[in-house]
Symmetry: C2
Amino acid sequence: MNIDKKKRLERSGWTAGGAADFLELTPEEASFIELKLALATGIREVRHRSGLTQTEVAARLGSSQSRVAKMEAGDRSVSLDLLVKSMLRIGASPTVIAKWIRRAETNRAV
Amino acid sequence: MNIDKKKRLERSGWTAGGAADFLELTPEEASFIELKLALATGIREVRHRSGLTQTEVAARLGSSQSRVAKMEAGDRSVSLDLLVKSMLRIGASPTVIAKWIRRAETNRAV
DNA sequence: AATCGCTATGTCCAGTATGACATATATCGA
DNA sequence: TCGATATATGTCATACTGGACATAGCGATT
C-alpha cells in the first residue's frame, strides 16, 4: 500500500481499531475499503471526463457538492449504495462499475 | 423482464412509485435493482457451492439467518454494502464480485 | 490582497439499515 | 403424522447514512 493511499485512508477517517495503525484490518475489511476507494476514483474520473464540477454533478444527482466531495474521497459516511447509484446516474454501466471494482484487486501494491 | 424476476421484485417490496406497476423505474433505478439481485444470487451461489446453510453463513458473518435470507432475496432492507461485505467474507474476491455485477447487465431479458 | 471558482471538512437530524428475535412455511425421513 | 432441519417473513431498537448548510482551503486572475 503506497503513501498516498495511506494518507487518503487516514483523511477519510479509516483508523481500524483505535490506534492510528490502520493495518489492523482483516483482509476482507481491506478489500472492502480498496473497493470503495476504487469506485470513488471511478466517480472522479467519470466526472472529469465529462468536464463537470462537483456542484454540477451534485445537481444531477439531487445531492450536494459536499457529498460529492465525500464520495470522491471515499469518506466513511459514504455507502457503496450511494457510490454505485451515483455512478449509474452519471452514465456508467454496470460493466464499467465492474471494471472499477476489479481494479480494486490489482491495485494491491504491497 | 421475466415472470420470476417480477415476482421476486414484488416479494422484495420493490413497487416503484406506489402502484403495483413497478415499471415506473428510471433506467438507473432498474440497473441498480438488477445489480443488487445479481449479487443476491451470487451470495446464494457461493453459499451453495460451499455446502453451507444460511445459519452457518450467518455465524461466519456475525449476523442472523433471517438477514442472510433477506440478502439472498434482494430485500429492500439490504444494502449493497452488506451484500458486498458478505461476499468478501465468504471468500469471494473483488473480481468475482465484479463478475456478478457484469451479469446484471447481460441479464436484461426484455 | 481581494475576489472568484472549485474542492474539502465538519456538523446536524430525518430517514434508513441491521442484528436480533419471533414466527411461519417447506421439505424430508422415520 | 410427527419431528427435525432449512428457509422465509415481520417487527423493533439502535446505529448508520445522506442532504443540507456552514465554513475553510487553495490556486488563478486582476
